[in-house]
Amino acid sequence: MKASGRGEVMRGLLTIVRITVHEAVRRRILLAALLCGAAFLALYGTGFYFVAREMQHEAAASLLQRRLALNLLVLAGLFAVNFLSVMTAVLLPADALSGEIASGVMQTVASKPVRRSTIVLGKWAAYVLLVGGYLLLLAGGVLAIGRGLGHFTPPAAGAGLALMALECALLVTVVIACGTRFGTITNGVVVLGLHGLAFIGNWVEQIGTFVGNDAARAMGTIASLIMPSESLWQLAASRMQPAVMRELHMSPFSPASVPSPAMIVWAAGYLGIALLLGLRHFRRRAL
């Protein structure tokens, strides 16, 4: 691609990113998400404060017990953040392409001198940024509360957040890709359904591992391959706790069966292929 062509593509991309972020601001979606996030952090922080204070007065508790309890509290907070971010990642971009195609807004945009791939990539980048920012704000809030009130930071917090961010990016990508093909409601139902499948699949895998049933365990793995989002959270949670907690299955976030790290490669490949399929379908579709 020539330099001028690259500049043109970048300009187009920035225009689409800018209008998409502008839409989230103007339609008060960002404000609503931030207010809900602030309410969550306020509630979580209050609960954390009282638990941490109680533990300080608990003379019998050892340092290890205290650290494990704080780790559990932080993971519980991140579990809630994960849930909120997954819902935002699916619902926020669900209308992005399908809505504009159905209403006809896309006709005046796609008849301008911009590549169709630029339109899809611009929307994708904007929603990855928005959902990623939302996740980092909430998860950062939970970690800051743990640090500020309990003087505790879970191990491998950076890697854990990166895995959670990959999970959100994956869901945004699948929603954007499905948006080139399905209507808004179908899109939301399909992607939430896939994530639900992965969520239930994980439980089947845990129970299968616990009772020693290979078939149930294999079913869980297959569900994770069909949609690897939940596996990324499992991997993130597993990393953000000490080995003793993980090995002894001491919390709901220390499961019997932890996904293989190869699932990260699978999820990254899944994301790339979903994006390519979305680009390909949008390039060909009648608008």
Binding site: E8, R11, G12, T15, R18, I19, H22, E23, R26, R27, S103, G104, V105, Q107, T108, V109, A110, S111, K112, P113, V114, R115, R284, A286, L287
Partner: protein, 309 residues
């Protein structure tokens, strides 16, 4: 600059099928630079699909076409094309000014030129005072006008207008007609798709009729064919050979409503016709003439059996 005689749009056997349904069967037409071109046909004839193919929004199933000398969907060509779709839709949370800024960016206009064009066009479509109001608060006519401004942002060489006067009051229609006139004056080619035949008649140089996805007739509105006069004669008793004799003055000679009707080339034929009748001793009580309207052409070209769309 495109030479004035070069084709701006050229299509050969353009076809589009959606599954079994043929939306456009065979679109073959040429539009030359600077022309105001009317695209006529009943609902469902394939006009909008044709237009979308020319804009690269729908890929043709078969056939060839070039727009501004480039293949369909070419981005360099699209940078010189303006488009106002039928039922113009918009992100309603934007203001009129922001909408034009956004589309200016999509055209790749630099900041200074974009700002100048946006202000200029807001003034031209009489929306300066509403520029910073959200589009959701605009009336239907205001939306159509901001849509028209959007189509003209990049000073295009070719403008596609799909039902541009839909939803406009008479003043709005007059504005659109004036703008089409200005575009013609600047040598811009206008491709107009409209149901309002009066509008087309007032603005277009040439029209093509589309029926069931096929171009069935082409009419230059300044040609003798289009300029033809429909003449109605009320005559006294006359011989049986009168109709055959009248055929030398025009076409479509027929007896109707107790009189005789025919279509002649122009007003200059009328005195000759009257003299010929008097010389043959045929009593002439009344001679009424009327220019053949585009509506008459439309009904004639589309034929019997057309149902409202």
């Amino acid at each position: 600059m495109v030479p004035t005689t070069s084709p701006v749009i050229e299509t050969h056997g353009l076809r589009r099928q959606f599954g079994e349904k043929v939306a456009v069967a065979d679109l073959s037409l040429t539009v030359t630079a600077g022309e105001v071109f009317g695209f006529l046909g009943p609902n469902g004839a394939g006009k909008t699909t044709s237009l979308k193919m020319l804009l690269g929004l729908i890929a043709p199933t078969a056939g060839e076409a070039r727009v501004l000398g480039a293949p369909l969907g070419d981005r360099r060509a699209l940078g010189r094309v303006g488009f106002l779709p039928e039922h113009f839709r918009f992100p309603e949370w934007l203001t009129g000014h922001e909408l034009l800024e956004f589309h200016g960016r999509l055209y790749g206009l630099g900041r200074a030129r974009r700002r100048a064009r946006v202000d200029e066009l807001l003034e031209r479509v009489d929306l300066l005072d509403a520029a910073h109001r959200r589009l959701r608060d605009y009336s239907k006519g205001m939306l159509q006008r901001v849509g028209l401004a959007q189509a003209l942002l990049a000073e295009p060489a070719l403008v596609f207008l799909d039902e541009p006067t839909s939803g406009l009051d008479p003043l709005g229609r007059l504005l659109v007609r004036d703008i089409i006139g200005e575009l013609r004056g600047r040598g811009v080619t206008v491709f107009l798709n409209s149901h309002l035949l009066g509008e087309v008649e007032a603005t277009c140089d040439r029209v093509v009729f589309l029926r069931q996805g096929l171009t069935v007739h082409e009419l230059s509105l300044s040609s003798p064919e289009a300029a033809g006069l429909a003449v109605e004669l009320r005559l006294g008793p006359h011989g049986d050979d009168l109709l055959a004799g009248l055929a030398r003055f025009g076409t479509e000679v027929a007896e109707a409503d107790g009189g005789v009707r025919l279509v002649v080339g122009g007003e200059e034929t009328l005195p000759e016709l009257a003299r010929w009748l008097v010389e043959r001793g045929v009593p002439l009580y009344e001679m009424r003439c009327q220019r053949k309207s585009l509506e008459a052409w439309f009904l004639e070209v589309m034929g019997e059996g057309q149902r409202p769309g």
